[in-house]
C-alpha cells in the first residue's frame, strides 16, 4: 500500500498545525546559534515564513531571502506582518536561484526531511554561503518520536494506519545530520537536541490543530471512521492534562550547524 504524501498548500492551516511548534523550536534554535546582527540570510524551504519571521524579529538581518516550492505557503509568508522586509519566492532547495557565496548564513527550518536529495540541498546551501559563513538546520526527530503529531501517529500505526512521513525521515537523527554536514565539507560541525513545548485549551483544540493540515488529514481520511474514533480516544487518554485542564505537549527536534571553510572576505 502506498503512503499518502504530505503537502502543505495552505499557509493559514499550516500555521495552526505547525507554525506554533515551529516558532517555539525556532526560538531555542536561535538561542543556540546566537548569530550576530546584520547578516544576510537565506531561509531554504521557508514554508509560510514562520522561521523567517523569527529571523526578522531577532537577528536584524541585512537581508532575508525565503524560498519554498509551494505557492500557497509563499503567498501567506509575503503577507506576514512580522516578516516584512524579507523577500520570498518559489524555488527548489536542490537548485537555488542564487549566486555562489551570496549569503552569510543559510538555514533549513524543519524541512530537510522533505528535500528529495538532502545531500544536494546541503551542497546548495554551502554553495550560496560565503567562506566563514554558517550553514544550519533543525528538524523534528521523526524516527525518535519527536514529531509533534507523534502521539496521533503512534496510535494510527497500532491500528494498521499509515501516517504520512516525510520522504527522508531518517535524515533528522543527530548522527545523520552530523554526517551530512561533515560530508558537505563543513567545519566545526556541532549538533544538539531541541525540546519544543506547546499547550492546547482542551482535547478538541489539540485534535483540530494537529489534524487540520496536509500533514495528517489524508492519512486519517484513509482510515475507517471507527478506527479514527478509536485513535482519537486513545490519543486523548495518552495526553498530559495539567491542573487547569489544558493539554501540555512536547516535541523534539535535532539541530546542526557548521562553518563554510575558508576565511571571511
Amino acid at each position: 500500500m502506498s503512503q499518502p504524501t504530505i503537502r502543505f498548500d495552505d499557509g493559514a492551516v499550516y500555521e495552526r498545525a505547525m507554525g506554533v511548534w515551529s516558532r517555539d523550536a525556532g526560538q531555542t534554535f536561535l538561542d543556540w546559534l546566537a548569530p550576530e546582527a546584520g547578516l544576510a540570510w537565506v531561509d531554504v524551504g521557508c514554508g509560510n515564513g514562520a522561521f523567517t519571521e523569527l529571523l526578522m524579529e531577532r537577528c536584524a538581518p541585512s537581508e532575508a531571502q525565503g524560498i519554498d516550492p509551494s505557492e500557497g505557503q509563499i503567498s501567506f509568508a509575503r503577507l506576514r506582518a512580522g516578516a516584512e522586509g524579507a523577500v520570498f519566492q518559489q524555488g527548489d532547495a536542490m537548485a537555488l536561484p542564487f549566486p555562489d557565496h551570496r549569503f552569510d548564513a543559510a538555514v533549513m527550518a524543519l524541512v530537510i526531511f522533505f528535500v528529495p536529495d538532502p545531500a544536494k540541498g546541503v551542497a546548495e546551501m554551502v554553495r550560496v554561503t560565503r567562506p566563514g559563513g554558517m550553514v544550519t538546520a533543525y528538524a523534528w526527530d521523526i524516527l525518535g518520536g519527536g514529531f509533534p503529531f507523534d502521539p496521533i501517529q503512534r496510535e494510527m500505526r497500532l491500528l494498521g494506519g499509515f501516517p504520512a512521513l516525510p520522504p527522508n525521515a531518517a535524515v533528522s537523527t543527530l548522527p545523520a545530520l552530523h554526517a551530512l554536514w561533515t560530508a558537505a565539507g563543513l567545519e566545526e560541525v556541532e549538533t544538539r537536541e531541541i525540546i519544543a513545548r506547546r499547550s492546547f485549551d482542551d482535547f478538541e483544540d489539540f485534535w483540530i490543530s494537529s489534524t487540520g493540515s496536509g500533514g495528517m488529514n489524508p492519512s486519517l481520511a484513509a482510515m475507517a471512521p471507527g478506527d479514527v474514533d478509536l485513535v482519537k480516544s486513545r490519543v486523548g487518554d495518552s495526553l498530559t492534562i495539567d491542573a487547569s485542564g489544558r493539554i501540555q505537549c512536547q516535541a523534539r527536534a535535532n539541530a546542526v550547524r557548521g562553518r563554510v571553510p575558508g576565511s571571511p572576505q
Binding site: 523577500v87 519566492q89 518559489q90 537548485a95 536561484p97
Partner: protein, 59 residues
C-alpha cells in the same frame, strides 16, 4: 501599484538561473525571467518569480 508580472527590483539584482547559475534577463512584457543559456523562461505570478525548473517554459 504592482501588476501581476512586476517584480521586486531587489530580487532581480540577485537571482540567477537555478540550473546554470548564470544571469537572467527580465522580460517585462512576457512577465518572465529568461535564462538564455538554459533555454528556460521562469514565469512571474502575482509578483512572485517561480524559480522552479519544472515550471519554466522551454524555448
Amino acid at each position: 501599484m504592482s501588476t501581476d508580472t512586476s517584480v521586486d527590483p531587489r530580487l532581480l539584482e540577485i537571482l540567477v538561473c537555478p540550473v546554470t547559475k548564470g544571469p537572467l534577463r527580465y522580460d517585462r512584457t512576457a512577465g518572465e525571467l529568461v535564462s538564455e543559456k538554459a533555454g528556460l523562461a521562469y514565469p512571474i505570478r502575482d509578483g512572485i518569480p517561480i524559480m522552479l525548473p519544472d515550471e519554466a517554459r522551454k524555448f
